[in-house]
């Protein structure tokens, strides 16, 4: 599970040698430490259009409020409308003038509200914001572009300009150095108030291995009320399938850290490992095979009986049975589809039918880069994981009506026992072929799940967010 190459590169001699011979330079990614602030360095906030009363840059104000809430050290250009927006958010923002800024001035994050960019000509404003600032981004820095979903744009030029942002954001992600990430967040009109949980996640080291993503934020599925950002899942019950080890155990751990009572589920053969995990987290466990006919009913009975329902359902359980298609047995095919794709549907259906998921509840699926790009030797697995994307897309509208959200994470190369068992060459290729030249950790997937699970993420539904360090595969 250890990435010895990354360790080598991060020693002085190792860095010298590997750099000389042109090998990848995986940076040390900052990761969230308990109790740490959301962001530890200065944030530069800019806008691509007027932010005034009738202005089109509608997100500057809401972003400024979030930055105030997280007590960020914010800078803006000396632009009257930007400064007014900052003042209205009670943000004591500093001034950044690229013409007069000292060489050493650095930013931990660049946030650019591009909603005011109404035509392709005006994309030059994005250049004007990023050009003098991009080389000032600190290690493990963040670039966040905010736009309007092209499908919600009133005119073709606006829709085109907003769609163009995806290319900018992804290219910035690939240019980014030293563990910096880049994201695009499309915020639906009137959903400006739903940004906070997403901004907090993207700005913080919790999103260390998430880059090059396009995230959509819409109207809230249910009123979230006031969110306790220190323990957002306090009083919530979370079901995590496949929780005995690997990514599932990490998800259980992070949800418990955020305050949830975790009900871990795994097959009976894993009961010892599973009970150890949930005991450590103060949760409880349920041994069941999710492909059993009565499994959905057993799960629903347990959740309703023991906890009066559930708030967060994470369909993490998954298996691989790799063979090229011509050599794959029917059993190998069926088992993967049954566990990875059919079981999440059956469990979700049952929980919904019995009204077991409480209001402002969350369903989270686990897809995979394999499901997006397709992997040789994984026709069954790729099919199941692409199906998970279909699963959330199919359910999202109906769930929204019930005040629930549904999203999926799509892990790329994550350092687990599964990847440790890969042949060296394939493993190295998987690890290095992304923007940060390294594999992610189970915690990276877990943090992303926790962001979906947060009661503050009521406006985040129907998203597939890859946790892949902007993998070259499936981009």
């Amino acid at each position: 599970m250890t990435d010895r190459y990354a360790q080598l590169v991060n020693t002085p001699i190792g860095k010298l040698v590997t750099k000389q011979i042109g090998l990848p330079q995986p940076p040390r990614l900052e990761r969230y430490q308990d109790g740490a602030p959301v962001i530890t360095g200065p944030v530069l906030l800019g806008a691509g259009g007027s932010t005034g009363e009738a202005g089109a840059s509608r997100l500057v104000g809401p972003v400024a409020k979030v930055l105030r809430a997280i007590d960020a050290d914010v800078f803006t250009a000396m632009d009257e409308e930007l400064r007014t927006a900052a003042a209205e958010a009670k943000l004591d923002a500093g001034v950044f003038n690229p013409e007069a800024a000292p060489e050493g001035q650095r930013f931990k994050a660049l946030i650019f509200d591009a909603t005011g960019i109404e035509s392709s000509d005006e994309l030059a404003r994005a250049w004007a914001f990023f050009q003098p600032a991009i080389r000032r981004v600190l290690p493990s820095g963040r670039v966040i572009i905010l736009g309007t979903p092209p499908e919600d744009c009133a005119t073709p030029p606006l829709a085109i300009a907003q769609r163009a942002l995806e290319g900018l954001e992804r290219a910035i992600g690939k240019e980014a150095k030293r563990g910096a990430t880049s994201q695009l967040v499309y915020v639906k009109p009137k959903a400006e108030g739903q940004l906070e949980s997403t901004l907090r996640f993207l700005l913080s080291p919790r999103s260390a291995f998430v880059s090059g993503q396009v995230i959509r934020v819409g109207a809230a599925a249910a009123a979230a009320g006031k969110v306790d950002w220190e323990a957002p899942l306090n009083g919530k019950v979370a079901l995590v399938t496949g929780a005995a080890r690997g990514i599932g155990a990490a998800i259980a751990e992070v949800l418990a850290r955020d305050g949830a009572h975790v009900v871990g589920l795994d097959v009976a053969a894993m009961a010892d490992e599973l009970s150890a995990v949930t005991a450590r987290l103060g949760g409880s466990f349920l041994a069941a095979d999710i492909t059993d006919d009565d499994a959905p009913a057993v799960i629903a009975d347990h959740l309703l009986g023991q906890h009066d329902g559930v708030d967060v359902v994470v369909h993490n359980a998954g298996i691989t049975r790799d063979k090229t298609l011509g050599r794959m047995t029917e059993e190998q095919w069926n088992k993967v589809i049954a566990i990875n794709l059919t079981a999440p549907q059956r469990i979700t259906e049952e929980l919904l039918a019995r009204d077991a998921v409480r209001r402002n509840g969350r369903v989270v699926g686990v897809s995979s880069i394999s499901g997006i790009a397709g992997n040789a030797g994984q026709t069954n697995y790729s099919t199941s994981k692409a199906g998970v994307i279909g699963f959330l897309q199919a359910y999202a509208p109906a769930l929204a009506k019930r005040g629930l959200t549904i999203n999926a994470v799509a892990p790329g190369f994550i350092e687990t026992q599964m990847t440790a068992a890969m042949p060296l060459a394939i493993r190295e290729a998987g690890r290095r072929m992304n923007s940060v030249s390294q594999g992610g950790l189970p915690i990276d997937v877990a943090e992303t799940v926790a962001w979906f699970a947060s009661p503050g993420s009521a406006g985040v539904t129907g998203n597939v967010v890859r946790v892949c360090g902007q993998s070259l595969i499936g981009a």
Binding site: K90, V95, E99, P102
Partner: protein, 431 residues
């Protein structure tokens, strides 16, 4: 005690030309310069031999023997020795603060007239004994027995011969004024060119004032100097652009051209009640109507060292009911071009005005055509204690020349070391 405040008249002021450090005034002491300036003022208004209510003045860099600098200057001047005097010391705010003190006593009826002024020499700077040496000498002095004294003297060391030279630095940060101003320039994103432009404007304005004879009654030649030595009438942005940064590191924006040089000089202003002015048949140039000082926490709260005037101004404006734009003339002390530009930006900035000043709306921009119209400190130089008097005198004269058909007001803003700022309002005496 007087129940109502009296109007305070500014009758006029004068100064000696300001010299650069180690220039023509290299051998002149603070007392020499202040005495000469008080005499010049007394001569102009026929005050020789007269007893005034008081003289308040001061210097920033002072010898320990000058504990009574202003009183000694009065005793050496043509004023009657019965004129009381005292020293004021508030860094670069000294001259304006002295004016406030004299004005307040006149307003309250405690005195009828007085002189406010200030002086500084950076050439004849006080050099103190080494602090270690001082302690040894004091110990010797405390010890009674000869043996004990000899024992104390054994603590003498050669390195104690190195004297303590006054430094232009903030005791609590160790940074020089210029380094602090460079931090402010960075904080506010002030560019090199706008600073150089402000400096050039200052030189052009002052040169024009001298060329037109406007300065004649404001300046009294001293030790062969007739104009401010620092004045460069042919200064240009192109020339200034060639200078290397002196503060803020190699990519800094502050140069010797857009920062004031260390200088020597003195100024004095005559203030009085309207009744006294009338009795002495001296026309009133302007009224000194309000003032405000402020301090900022530049040590712990990250505020800029020289930003205090930005805080003083809105408090004064709120009291007087005036908007920042309603003044006919603005006198902002140009300690550094960056300081002026930071102050102006701060007043225009919604964030600063809301978060730091607690205002509902920004104070807004001023008409730059009305700023330092007869030149500022960048051109004239800045003997710390003398700048307030220079500005009060020049503003009073400028106000006296405004259209008599309508009221005119001027405002002063002076930053000072220690995170201090002094502002004041003056009105033309057109009634």
């Amino acid at each position: 005690m007087n129940a109502t405040a009296r109007r305070v008249a500014v009758l006029g002021g004068t100064r000696i030309p300001f010299a650069r450090r180690n220039g023509p005034y290299a051998r002149a002491s603070n007392q020499d310069m202040l005495t000469a300036t008080v005499d010049a003022l007394a001569g102009r208004f026929g005050l020789e031999g007269g007893v005034l209510g008081e003289v308040a003045a001061g210097a920033v860099l002072k010898h320990s023997r000058d504990f009574n600098l202003t009183r000694e200057s009065v005793l050496g001047s043509k004023l009657a020795p019965e004129t009381p005097a005292y020293d004021v010391q508030q860094a670069c705010g000294t001259g304006l603060e002295a004016t406030v003190l004299v004005a307040n006593k006149i307003a309250l009826g405690q005195i009828d007239c007085g002189i406010a002024g200030g002086v500084d020499t950076t050439s004849d700077a006080p050099i103190a004994v080494n602090e270690d040496l001082r302690e040894v000498l004091l110990e010797v002095n405390r010890t009674k027995s000869t043996a004990g004294r000899l024992k104390a003297l054994t603590k003498l060391r050669p390195q104690q011969l190195v004297p303590a030279i006054p430094r232009n630095s903030e005791p609590r940060t160790g940074l020089s004024m210029g380094e602090h101003a460079a931090i402010m320039a960075t904080d506010w994103g002030i560019g090199r060119e706008e600073q150089d432009e402000l400096a050039v404007t200052s030189h052009r304005h002052l040169a024009a004032a001298y060329d037109s004879g406007w300065m004649d009654d404001l300046v009294t030649p001293f030790l062969g100097l007739e104009r401010d030595q620092n004045l460069r009438p042919d200064s240009s942005v192109e020339k200034l652009a060639k200078l290397k940064p002196v503060f803020g590191g190699p990519d800094g924006t502050m140069t010797a051209g857009n920062s004031t040089p260390l200088s020597d000089g003195a100024s004095a202003v005559l203030l009085a009640s309207e009744k006294w002015a009338k009795a002495h048949d001296i026309p009133v140039q302007a009224y000194f109507t309000d003032a405000q000082t402020a301090g900022v926490d530049y040590v712990h709260k990250r505020e800029g060292l020289l930003m205090a005037p930005a805080y003083a101004m809105p408090r004064m404006l709120a009291r007087s009911g005036a908007a920042l734009q309603e003044f006919d003339l603005y006198e902002i002390h140009e300690a550094f071009a960056a300081q002026v530009l930071c102050t102006l930006k701060a007043w225009e900035d919604p964030v600063f005005c809301s978060e730091r000043l607690g205002l509902d709306a920004p104070l807004g921009a001023i008409d730059r055509e009305r700023l330092n119209v007869h030149g500022g400190s960048l051109a004239a130089g800045h003997p710390f204690g003398a700048t307030g008097g220079r500005i009060v005198a020049a503003l009073a004269k400028a106000l006296s020349e405004t259209d008599p058909a309508r009221p005119a007001r001027g405002v002063i803003s002076i930053c000072a070391a220690g995170g201090l700022g002094v502002t004041a309002i003056m009105e033309a005496a057109h009634d």
